[in-house]
Amino acid sequence: MWEALIQPFAEFGFMRRAMLGCIAISAGATPVGVFLMLRRMSLTGDAMAHAILPGAAVGYLVAGLSLGAMTVGGLIAGMAVALLSGFVTRVTALREDASLAAFYLISLSLGVLIVSTRGSNIDLMHVLFGTVLALDNSALILLCSITSLTLIALALLFRPLVLECADPQFLRAVSGLSAVTHFTFLALVVINLVSGFHALGTLMAVGIMIVPAAAARFWAVSIGGLICAAVAIAIISSGCGLLISYHFGLPSGPAIILVAGLAYGLSLTLGPIGSLAAPILPRRHVEA
C-alpha cells in the first residue's frame, strides 16, 4: 500500500515534476478561484478558459509546441477578452455576464476555426488536455513564477479585492483602486489559466481553480480559511489524481479534476458547514 503511494514519486523524475507543477498551480490558481467563487463569478473562469484557446492555437501554429509562443498567445487572447468585456461593462448598459459571454464565444469560434483549418492534430490535443507528465524545466519555472506573481499580487491587493467584493460602492468612494483591482484580478485569472493549461490543458485548468474552492465552502467560513482549505484540497487531489493516472494508465488532467470532484461530493454531503449533513451534525452551541 505504502509502496503504491510513494514508489512512483521516488522512482520517476517525471512524477516528481508533475507533482511540483500541480503544487504550484494549486497554490496560485486555487486562491484566485476562491475569489471567483465569492464574487459569484465561477463561470467566468470557464469563459476565460475558452477565450484563451485561440491565442494558444495561434501560438502553436506559428511556433509549434513552444512554451513561450503558446503562453504569449494565450495571455494576449485572455487579456483582450477580459479588457474588452470589462470595458464594455463599465461604459455601456450591457451586464458583465452578457458582454463576457459575447467576447469569449467570438474568441472560441475563432479558435475552433483556426484548429479546424489545420485538420486534426495530435499536438493540439496537448493544448486541450495538457502535459503534466511531461513538464520540462522551463515549464516548471514558468508555473512557479506565475504562482509567485499571483501570491504577491493577491497579498498587495487583498484589502481592495475583499472590499471590491463586499462593498464596491464604498471602495469607489474612498479610493481610485476599484478599476485597477478589478482588472488586475481578471489578469490573475488569465495568467493562472495559462499556467494551468500547460499542465492540465485549457479545459481542465479551470477545474483546479473552481472545484477545490467550491469544496472548501463546506469546511471554512473566513476568507483565509477558505483559501487554506481549497489549496489543501487541490494539492491532495493532485497527488491522488497523479497516482491514479500512473497506476491505471489514465490521462492525468481529468484524473486530478475527478478526484477534486470526489472531494467536492464528500464535502457537499459531509462537510461541517452548510452541507447536506450539517443540520444533523452535533454542533457546539455558541454562548452570547
Binding site: R159, A166, D167, Q169, F170, R172, V174, S175, V221, I223
Partner: protein, 247 residues
Amino acid sequence: MTYAVAFQELTLGYDRHPAVRRLDGEVADGSLTAIVGPNGAGKSTLLKGMTGALRPLAGQVDFGTCTRNDIAYLPQQSDIDRLFPITVVDLVAVGLWSEIGGFFGLSAAHRARVDDAISAVGLTGFESRPIGSLSGGQIQRALFARLLLQDASLVLLDEPFTAIDAKTMADLLGVVRRWHGEGRTVITVLHDVETVRAYFPETLILARDLVAHGPTAEVLTAANQFRARQMCEACVGPPHDCGRDAS
C-alpha cells in the same frame, strides 16, 4: 458665515432628464440639516451629486470648508454583499482607509479606535461575527461605526433610519448629535417629521425644485409640505415632463 457646501443653479439627473432642478443655496459649516420631500423628489440624487458620483447636468456644487475627500456617505441602498465572509471588525475597520490605505495593517492605536467606534454604536461583543449573521439594524449600526472612523467633516446620510427599530434609531441619532457637537456638517435625508423637528435645526424641502430651506421651525410648515406633495404629484411620468408649465 462660512458654508460647507453650496449649490449654484445645480441641475442633476439621469440620461439628461433632470431630477433636481436649478437648486441654489448653501449649507452652513457645522450645521445639522434634514432633507425632506416626497418619494422621487430627488433627495438621493442630490446626495449623489454632492459625493461626485453623479456629474451635474448644469450648475455646480461648491465645497467651502471641506474637500470632496472629506465626505463620508451612507447610501440609501448599499450594495453590500451580506453573504461575503467578512466580520464586523473587517467591515468597520475600512473606515480608516484614508489612513491605512489599501495595504497597511492596523496599529494598536487603530485597533483601539475601531473598538471605540464599535462600542459607540452598541455593537461590542459582535466584533467577530460575520456580517451575514447581523440584523438590518445591526448592519446599520456597523455602517455608522465605519462612518465614525472616516472622521469626515461632511457626513451625508440617505434615509438611515428606514426599517429600523426605535432603540436603534435613538442610538444612531445619538451618534448624529455627537457629530454635530464635534462641529461636523451633517446632512440627512429622512421622512419622519417628528424626528426632524426634534433633532434637526435646519431643513431643506425638495420636490425636484427647491420648496424651502432654512430653520426647521420656519420651513417645515404644513403649507410647505403640501406644496411639495403637489409639485411632485404634478409630475407623473418621466422627470423631464415635470412641472413643464410651472417653470
